[in-house]
């Protein structure tokens, strides 16, 4: 990994042992009439091949903006990236030319959006839109592209793919449309898929089908997966590791089992506690007090301090760094970090 600089232009698929994607100290801001909205304030995360990272957060936490920055699909301006690196196989994508980035986008890193209906062109058949990937990127002719489109539709298990290849998006159900989006993301066999709330618009029974399919394909192709979601249930089902975001910062990172068993940040703890539990029937639910902050006016110190049951004087002045979480005897727990001055106390709560 130390020879990153020497390897900048590998001659075709040099074996890469580091993380596929490494986001370092990423900042994204939007310059609006009302002032600068700091949507992402120093995010660090990485994903390896075959690994699933879940980015958990509420609306406005910066989870989607981070993903859009990785994909390079932010409108700049108004957006700007004043600081940070996004390393894909060790190379900073923010320093690449537009042409280089375009080669990565779609071919190496693909994205699945929440709303399949608005992501597909309503006046073109889905087969044409799938085939477009091959025509545009691989120079296939129409016939080849159509054959590939049918193959893709088969792979994401759309029944009667051959007959349905000429159908338009509105002729498919929500779950089927999301399968087409997955097919499109898979078309060029990317290393990494970013799925932004892929099942939020779907019903639970269909959500289960789509998540199963995504997990299966990920294992088959040994891809990295970044799953952006607000649903603690979906995360528990598929993630390997989790990054919890709040007001543009990562407040906790942990392997999936640790996070649910022993959260080390009061925000994570609050989210887990506000899930209705069986033994709480007839009682008041635990609720995190207050509201998520306005990104124009993020509170000084820890952004969570006005809502935090543990907040002390220090929390109102200093921004807590993402500290390594250790066991009681001081041994660091792999992959665990918490941006709370009182993570030790939080860990021992409950």
């Amino acid at each position: 990994m130390s020879t990153v600089a020497d390897q900048t232009r590998p001659a075709r698929e040099e074996p890469w042992t580091g993380p596929l994607l490494d986001v370092r100290n990423l900042h994204v801001e939007f310059r609006t009439r009302d002032g600068v909205v700091r949507a992402v304030n120093g995010v660090n995360y990485s994903v390896a091949a075959g690994e699933t990272l879940a980015v958990l957060g509420e609306s406005g936490s910066g989870k989607s903006v981070t993903a859009q920055a990785i994909m390079g699909i932010l409108d700049m301006p108004p957006a700007a990236i004043p600081e940070g690196e996004i390393l894909y196989r060790g190379r900073d994508m923010l320093k690449m030319s537009k042409e280089e980035r375009r080669k990565i986008r779609g071919q190496k890193i693909a994205m699945i959006f929440q709303d399949a209906l608005s992501s597909l062109n309503p006046v073109l058949p889905v087969g044409f839109q799938l085939g477009e990937m091959y025509r545009a990127h691989r120079g296939s002719n129409r016939k080849e592209a159509k054959a590939k489109a049918i193959e893709l539709m088969d792979r994401v298990r759309i029944p009667a793919a051959r007959e349905r290849v000429g159908d338009y998006p509105h002729q498919f159900s929500g779950g089927m449309r999301q399968r087409i989006m997955i097919a499109m993301a898979l078309a060029l066999e990317p290393d990494l898929i970013i799925a932004d709330e892929p099942t939020t618009a779907l019903d639970v029974t269909v959500q289960a089908q789509v998540m199963d399919l995504l997990a299966e394909l990920q294992a088959e192709y040994h891809m990295g997966l970044i799953l952006i979601t607000h649903d603690l249930g979906v995360v528990a089902d598929v993630a390997d590791k989790i990054a919890v975001m709040y007001a543009g910062r990562i407040v906790e990172t942990a392997p999936v089992h640790d996070l649910y068993a022993r959260p080390a940040h009061p925000y994570t703890r609050g989210l887990l506690d506000s899930i209705p539990r069986l033994d709480q029937k007839g009682q008041e639910l635990y609720a995190i007090k207050g509201l998520p902050p306005n990104l124009l006016r993020i509170p000084p110190g820890c952004a969570f301090n006005p809502r935090c049951p543990r907040a002390q004087e220090i929390c109102r002045h200093e921004v807590p760094p993402l500290a390594q979480v250790t066991e009681d005897d001081g041994t660091p727990v792999a992959g665990r970090g918490s941006a709370c001055f009182f993570w030790k106390e939080t860990l021992h709560d409950g």
Binding site: E58, S59, S173, G174, G175, M176, D203, V204, T205, V206, Q207, A208, Q209, M211, D212, H230, D231, L232, G233, V234, V235, A236, D237, A239, V256, H257, Y260, A261, G270, L271, L272, S274, I275, P276, L278, D279, Q280, K281, G282, Q283, E284, L285, Y286, A287, I288, K289, G290, L291, P292, R307
Partner: protein
């Protein structure tokens, strides 16, 4: 500004909770029988002729008891929101009967309808589109008083609105603000205050928290429960989030393709479901516990919900059901307690082969 904290609502031990729930249950306040709502499908511009109908609600019967919360769950397109609209008389019913305290209300009009509507109010899903952006909060919450002036005489209205704001945990000084000055959770509180304005007995909540952030959902659920205890409200709580429905409901009804397929107490439905659709729905819900990942036994349904314009013959779920047999194609199963079932499993379920899932 907000209602919060984790203090239990009076009852603390499970026995007290059960007792409190028992006491709350009383007479049926709303009796719904074989309710139908069909939207006609027409063809032709000049000479319109009906070529079919979308059977959004197709023969639904249930009772809502005084002071209880009846949860209604189901996937999109199952007719749960249409059911709410028909009960509110926002859409006329195609057939069937709705009785409010024994009085038929589904075909009322004019002043009689107005009087009944006072007692049945609604809280909508989307707090962003259900509040008029050009009206102040005071006007929004006070608007019901314009229609029903007997509830609050003119001079008292401002005070009444401020009281309502206070009840839902908003600062009464916000009375002159506009909806855009509030967050989603606060807007939903405004929607709830409007629903409470006429002191109704029944509130129909259509997905009241699904547009809200996770950390705010719990606040609104707590508010709804507090208000229920304070004003002795009966709720019909429509939602797709099964864990929230379980938390708030005394009884739960499961809908599929315009029909009620299973109905019973929360324990009967969640722990002793006998309809295959309910079982699949429950098993598909992601559990926020990674240790359950390997052990869970999920039923993944094949295919999608059929079109409500062309529902399958017999049992509507048979096209996706793993238990389906020839009988299911011929005979429409009645919503009734099957005699071969015992204990909590014996509750109303519309399946010819109703049975609990075997635990593995």
């Amino acid at each position: 500004m907000t209602v919060n904290g984790a203090t239990p609502l009076g009852a603390t031990t499970p026995e007290e909770v059960a007792f409190a729930q028992e006491v709350r249950r009383g007479e049926p306040i709303l009796e719904v029988r074989d309710l139908r709502k069909h939207f006609p499908l027409t063809r032709g511009v000049l000479f319109k002729k009906q070529v079919g109908a979308v059977k959004a609600v197709d023969g639904v019967s249930f009772d809502l008891m005084q002071g209880e919360t009846l949860g209604i769950v189901g996937e999109s397109g199952c007719g749960k929101s249409t059911l709410a609209k028909v009960l509110m008389n926002l859409e006329p019913a195609s057939a069937g009967s709705v009785k409010y305290k024994g009085e038929e209300i589904s075909r009322l009009s004019g002043s009689a309808l107005k009087a009944v509507r006072r007692n049945i109010q609604m809280v909508f899903q989307d707090p962003y589109t259900s509040l008029n952006p050009r009206m102040t909060v005071g006007d929004i919450i006070g608007e019901p008083f314009e229609i029903h002036p007997e509830v609050a005489p003119k001079g008292d209205r401002r005070k009444a609105v401020q009281d309502l704001l206070d009840v839902v945990g908003l600062n009464p000084e916000y009375i002159n603000r506009y909806p855009h000055q509030f967050s989603g959770g606060q807007r939903q509180r405004i929607g709830i205050a409007r629903g409470l304005a006429l002191k109704p007995e029944i509130i129909i909540c259509d997905e009241p928290v699904s547009a809200l952030d996770v950390s705010v959902q719990a606040q609104v659920i707590n508010l709804l429960e507090q208000l229920q205890a304070e004003f002795e409200l009966s709720y019909m709580f429509i939602a797709h989030d099964l864990s929230i429905v379980r938390h708030i409901s005394d009884r739960v009804g499961v809908m599929y393709l315009g029909r009620m397929v299973e109905i019973g107490s929360d324990l009967e439905i969640y722990d002793h479901a006998t309809h295959p659709y309910t079982q699949a729905l429950l098993s598909a819900v992601p559990v926020p516990d990674p240790t359950a990942r390997e052990s869970r036994d999920r039923i993944v349904l094949v295919g999608d919900v059929p079109s409500p314009a062309k529902p399958p013959s017999g049992c509507r779920f048979r096209t996706r059901c793993w238990k389906a047999q020839e009988k299911c194609e011929r005979e429409d199963p009645a919503l009734t307690a099957r005699e071969w079932l015992e204990g909590r499993a014996r509750h109303d379920s519309a399946c010819h082969f109703a049975a609990e899932r075997e635990n593995i």
